[in-house]
């Protein structure tokens, strides 16, 4: 029996928080990757975007996103996942829910991904985002860094990397 989706590793943030979580030496044996994020940061706002870098390389990223704020819809281009993390002024004990799908991560093409994320808050302002991202690099992905874009990621945040096998 083929196991289609397999957890590779889970990073759980401990006391004191962290500025980022890293997945190193990613096996090159899967077809696709998926990252599932439940995150809160110490940023003094009700949400924060998250930044995903591949292979310890901070260049050649772009993203297109469609976002809702609870009252408005907006679309933008940047390099992040907009609704990536709940932050300090949002409802306590509340974390984001984000899925990032990265197909063909070992291919010699540029790397595309798609993400859907939400940051809930017991107030009018809460964010949802659909993001299509691109890393203009043909290298196989062997490392992924997920950060709160400079903000401290708080305790009990989790990031899990899954490998997906076709067929």
């Amino acid at each position: 029996m083929t196991i289609a989706m397999q957890p590779i590793y889970t990073q759980t943030v401990g006391a004191g928080g962290t500025t980022g979580v890293n997945f190193l030496n990613i096996p090159q044996t899967f077809t696709d990757l998926q990252i599932v994020v439940s995150m809160r940061t110490a940023f003094a706002a009700n949400y924060q975007y998250i930044q995903v870098f591949f292979n310890n390389n901070g260049s050649n990223y772009s993203a297109t996103s469609l976002n809702g704020s609870g009252t408005a819809v907006f679309t933008n281009r940047n390099t992040q996942i907009e609704a990536g993390a709940v932050s300090a002024t949002a409802t306590s004990n509340t974390f984001s829910s984000v899925s990032i799908y990265i197909p063909n991560y070992t291919s010699a093409n540029f790397k595309s991904y798609i993400a859907d994320g939400v940051t809930e808050n017991n107030a009018t302002a809460g964010y949802q985002s659909l993001t299509a991202g691109l890393w203009r690099d043909t290298s196989a992905i062997n490392r992924i860094d997920v950060s709160g874009a400079g903000q401290t990621i708080v305790q009990n945040s989790t990031v899990t990397l899954y490998g997906i096998t076709k067929g």
């Binding site: 196991i3 439940s38 809702g68 009018t124 009990n156």
Partner: protein, 178 residues
């Protein structure tokens, strides 16, 4: 194995809700995948999450919606909600045989340090109309930070017999060394 089938429930044609009860507490995340149509006397019906952990009172939920209908986009929100709207599906006056699709996630559903945030992708195309969107919910009364042991999906109309809801458990503990 990472994603494990737990249970499937079909519509009966005579009930407006389906319930998953005694949900195993052995997974990390839950996902419900739905194929949905109801007999509600409208082109579309609303999908609600309710009855978390057998709570028949208000869920005290916050929710946020982002959706489009082919001609415009919209965002919405609410607080103190009796139940949590997850999205929309075809109702009785939608084109025959048109069904909606929903993927509903609850991360860390047994983690008592976290309120339970729901994330739902939904959509249907009705050959000339339709809706697609991403929604989130924060049911604070129950489960709040408690583990999710049961929940219901509720509609305004009776759920058709060809509608199907599948519950999956997703693990996160099978490390391979990365």
């Amino acid at each position: 194995m990472s994603m494990v089938f737990i249970a499937s429930v079909n519509g009966t044609g005579s009930a407006t809700s389906v319930t998953f009860s005694s949900i195993p507490q052995t997974f990390t995340h839950l996902q419900i995948r739905g194929f949905i149509r109801t007999a509600y006397a409208s082109a579309f019906d609303t999908i609600y999450a309710y009855n978390y952990n057998n709570n028949t009172g208000s869920t005290g939920s916050a929710y946020h919606l982002l959706y489009g209908d082919g001609s415009s986009v919209a965002a919405g929100s609410g607080t103190g909600s009796f139940s949590t709207p997850l999205g929309y599906c075809p109702g009785n006056s939608a084109t025959a045989n048109v069904y909606g699709v929903m993927v509903f996630d609850i991360l860390d559903y047994t983690n008592t340090n976290k309120n339970k945030t729901t994330r739902t992708l939904f959509g249907y195309d009705n050959n000339g109309s339709g809706q697609v969107g991403l929604t989130s919910g924060l049911p604070l009364t129950l489960p709040g930070t408690a583990a999710v042991t049961s929940l219901s999906l509720v509609f305004n109309g009776n759920i058709t017999t060809a509608s199907r809801f599948d519950l999956y458990g997703i693990t996160s503990s099978e490390a391979t060394g990365a």
